[in-house]
């Protein structure tokens, strides 16, 4: 399909022109991301309250995090955002094949993130660092017993809830990017119509950004015993 045809095909009946449609969709996407901020906001709020109240317990919990895996995952996500941004650029320039390759790289990074996360989850699971009746916590340092295991359990509740919700968003993101690749190779986008690519890109960057906050908040509270 030619450029103009794609655009005509994509214009929905209730919009006056492509520009209005494009601006409207993007605006809607930003509004959606705003609701996502509020959605995660409830968890961040709970995190702040409990971290302020039970700092020591949170420090001990965070010291059980594998910082190297977490840091690797941060790098993986930043790379995925780069390939995502380049993919959107390719879509804007009307190069569907290049876009597909770049988005495929994004998916590989995204799945890599989920894989590494699964390894971490497994570690915590076998160490009984999952809230509930089987929860059991030791600092791993025989010289220092756990000071406040009850509230370290809260830390782990938040850890699982926050990273779990983030991982769910990643899974949805991988699904969306797959859909964009298939549609793009089918000729759905062109230089004059690439709004869905942009919007999925916005979503991907948002989910990436959530992790950028989660990583320091959950992994990097303090290396020193007793915090500080």
């Amino acid at each position: 399909m030619g450029d103009i045809q794609v655009a005509e095909h994509a214009l929905q009946h209730h919009f006056a022109d492509m520009e209005q449609q494009q601006e409207t969709s993007t605006f809607g996407m930003w509004m959606f991301l705003l609701t996502e901020i509020m959605f995660f906001g409830g968890l961040f709020c709970a995190y702040l309250v409990y971290r302020a109240s039970y700092y020591q317990a949170f420090v001990e919990g965070s010291q059980k995090m594998n910082i190297w895996l977490g840091a690797t995952n941060t790098a993986v996500l930043i790379c995925s955002s780069l390939s995502m941004a380049l993919g959107v650029r390719a879509a804007q320039m009307g190069k569907p094949k290049l876009m597909a390759v770049l988005l495929l790289i994004t998916i590989v990074f995204g799945c890599g993130f989920l894989g590494i996360k699964a390894v971490e989850y497994h570690e915590h699971w076998v160490n009984h660092e999952f809230p509930g009746p089987n929860f059991h916590f030791e600092t791993g340092d025989p010289a220092h017993a756990a000071t406040d295991p009850v509230h370290t359990e809260i830390y782990f509740s938040l850890y699982w809830a926050m990273t779990g919700l983030h991982a769910l968003h990643m899974v949805i993101g991988v699904g969306l990017v797959t859909w964009i690749i298939i549609a793009g190779l089918g000729g759905a986008y062109s230089r004059s119509y690439f709004t869905p690519v942009e919007n999925v890109g916005l979503y991907w960057h948002f989910v990436d950004l959530v992790w950028i906050y989660l990583f320091p908040l959950l992994y990097l509270i303090s290396k020193k015993h007793g915090g500080g």
């Binding site: 409207t24 605006f27 509020m38 409830g42 709970a46 009850v150 809830a161």
Partner: protein
């Protein structure tokens, strides 16, 4: 349609195609509004049925009709259904859905498919919650306070919470659609200062839906996780804090009250101006008061927690902020009254309901100021005074506005007139029945009768009998419109495009409107509510 339709009906959104698929797969905002109308009406009757059982139990002081456990379930399910499945979607999802594109001169909402999706999400949520109720019900109160809801209650908390969680997303999508539509889809010349106040009010309500609903979603998700996996974020035994639940819950659920009342206020603006034939007094102030209520509404949540153990300094601040909400609310009431002043007032049914709204909302709002003051709140907290207060705002305010709007736009929606005499009778019954039901509750509450018990001391019986009697009148007042609205679909007189001689783009297109709303995109060159200067011919283009 055997009745006297003299002219050949032109094609409109109702007769353009038929069949169940044309409704269930529609993306037309007008049809989706009707889908919502049918669904929330069903929920209204289910919620009303629980209310009826509550009032019957309270007819006698002894707890003789239902056990206390059943009573707990009754008021819980009444609250959940009425708040989450009727009041919050009521005006936005039905009238807002129908009218906002028409009022701004658009062919549809910005995201028609998302709009249909929101209805499906609503239905899935509603069916989930109803299933939980059929399987045995919930007894936590509509507020799901922890740790009772997470640890101790043996009822179907999970199902109800998940139902509300799901329905929340329909609310988010509706709000998102409204905001984007009002920003991006206005017809040429429809500037922000020419926007009908109904749109301003729903815009403000949509801000709350978009910013508030995700917070209740995550909160209920945590409750569900806590029940399922025994994580302890709200459980004091596991080191969690039940007050955090209350903070997060009311961060949404207080503003949610303003979703309801703001969209109701939007309806009242349209009706007061139309039936007093005047421009609204202080358009800018009324418009900005809506935004102010939405913003302040996010800063007052902890006034629900004065006796829950928050610090006295926090309570003072929240008390003060709660008083502030009275300012924009009063601006609206005063401006409506000033609009009436020297207007040529007509007492049609929508106007009767609007009058009812102003009076009852004022009572409800002012008793809200009593409750915002710390000392009084400590005395009347968890008594029937609180019950009476919020029913004055929710039923006396919001449901009156909803009924007013339904009557006002019924001719536009269905193309049929309703029988005016019956409608006036119903408005009267609702007003009398409502006051008889809820005013006695102010008194018993002030005397100290706590809510949420199925039995009470005999000295309160007279007022409780009065209340139950009023509830029966109220029920008749709600059944009547149900009957004559349905009757009018077949036997009602065909409605002209503009039966009330109102201004506003929705009245310039035929009744019922064509699928694409307008034959050609309107160009707006006049102010909103320009009843005084608008030449009649220009007002009624499309006759």
């Amino acid at each position: 349609m055997a009745t006297a339709v003299q002219t050949v009906e032109r094609e409109n959104y109702l007769n353009s195609n038929y069949g169940i698929k044309s409704w269930l797969l529609t993306t037309d905002h007008k049809r989706i509004a009707l889908l919502y109308l049918v669904s929330i009406t069903a929920m209204f009757w289910i919620g009303g049925f629980f209310a009826m059982l509550i009032r019957l139990e309270l007819l006698t002081p002894a707890g003789d009709m239902v056990s206390s456990d059943t009573y707990n379930k009754l008021f819980t399910m009444h609250g959940i259904i009425m708040v989450f499945f009727f009041l919050i979607p009521s005006v936005p999802a039905t009238l807002g859905n129908f009218l906002i594109p028409l009022m701004v001169g658009a062919k549809d909402l910005a995201f028609p498919r998302v709009n249909l999706l929101s209805w499906y999400i609503y239905m899935v949520g509603a069916i989930t919650a109803l299933t939980a109720m059929v399987m045995g019900g919930v007894d936590t109160g509509w507020t799901f306070y922890t740790p009772f809801s997470t640890t101790y209650s043996n009822t179907h908390v999970m199902g109800a919470a998940i139902g509300i969680f799901i329905t929340g997303f329909s609310s988010i999508l509706t709000g998102l659609n409204f905001i984007v539509t009002i920003h991006r889809m206005r017809a040429p010349g429809m500037t922000w200062r020419r926007l009908p106040l109904f749109c301003w009010a729903n815009y403000a309500a949509a801000i709350i839906m978009v910013l508030g609903t995700p917070v209740i979603a995550i909160t209920l998700l945590l409750v569900a996780l806590e029940r399922a996996f025994n994580i302890g974020i709200f459980n004091p035994q596991l080191g969690g804090d039940p007050l955090l639940f209350q903070h997060l819950f009311w961060f949404y659920s207080h503003p949610a009250v303003y979703i309801m009342i703001l969209s109701g206020m939007g309806v009242i603006n349209e009706i007061i101006t139309c039936f007093s034939r005047k421009r609204v007094f202080g358009y800018e102030f009324v418009a900005l008061a809506s935004i102010a209520i939405a913003v302040l509404g996010f800063l007052v949540w902890a006034h629900h927690m004065f006796v829950a153990g928050i610090s006295v300094y926090a309570a003072l601040v929240f008390s003060l902020l709660s008083y502030l909400v009275a300012i924009p609310s009063a601006v609206k009431v005063f401006n409506w009254t000033a609009t009436l002043y020297k207007g040529s007032i007509r007492y049609e049914t929508p106007m009767l309901y609007a009058f009812g709204f102003i009076g009852l909302f004022t009572v409800g709002g002012l008793t809200g100021v009593f409750l915002a003051s710390l000392g009084v709140d400590v005395h009347v907290h968890d008594t029937y005074f609180v019950v009476a207060h919020f029913h004055y705002v929710m039923v006396g305010g919001m449901v009156m506005a909803y009924m007013a709007g339904l009557h006002f736009w019924w001719p536009k929606i269905t193309g049929r007139m309703y029988p005016e005499a019956w409608a006036k009778l119903s408005a009267l019954l609702v007003f009398v029945g409502f006051n008889t039901t809820f005013f006695p509750l102010f008194i018993v509450g002030y005397m100290g009768l706590p809510r949420r018990y199925h039995a009470y001391p005999p000295e309160f019986q007279v007022l409780n009998v009065l209340s139950t009697a009023g509830a029966s009148i109220l029920a008749v007042g709600y059944v009547l419109p149900m009957i004559y609205f349905l009757w009018s679909l077949r036997y009602g007189e065909p409605a002209p495009p503009n039966p009330w001689n109102a201004v506003g783009l929705e009245w310039m297109t035929p009744s019922p409107p064509p699928t694409h709303n307008f034959d050609e995109t309107p160009i707006v060159t006049w102010e909103a509510y320009d009843y005084e200067h608008q030449p009649q011919e220009e007002v009624t283009v499309g006759h």
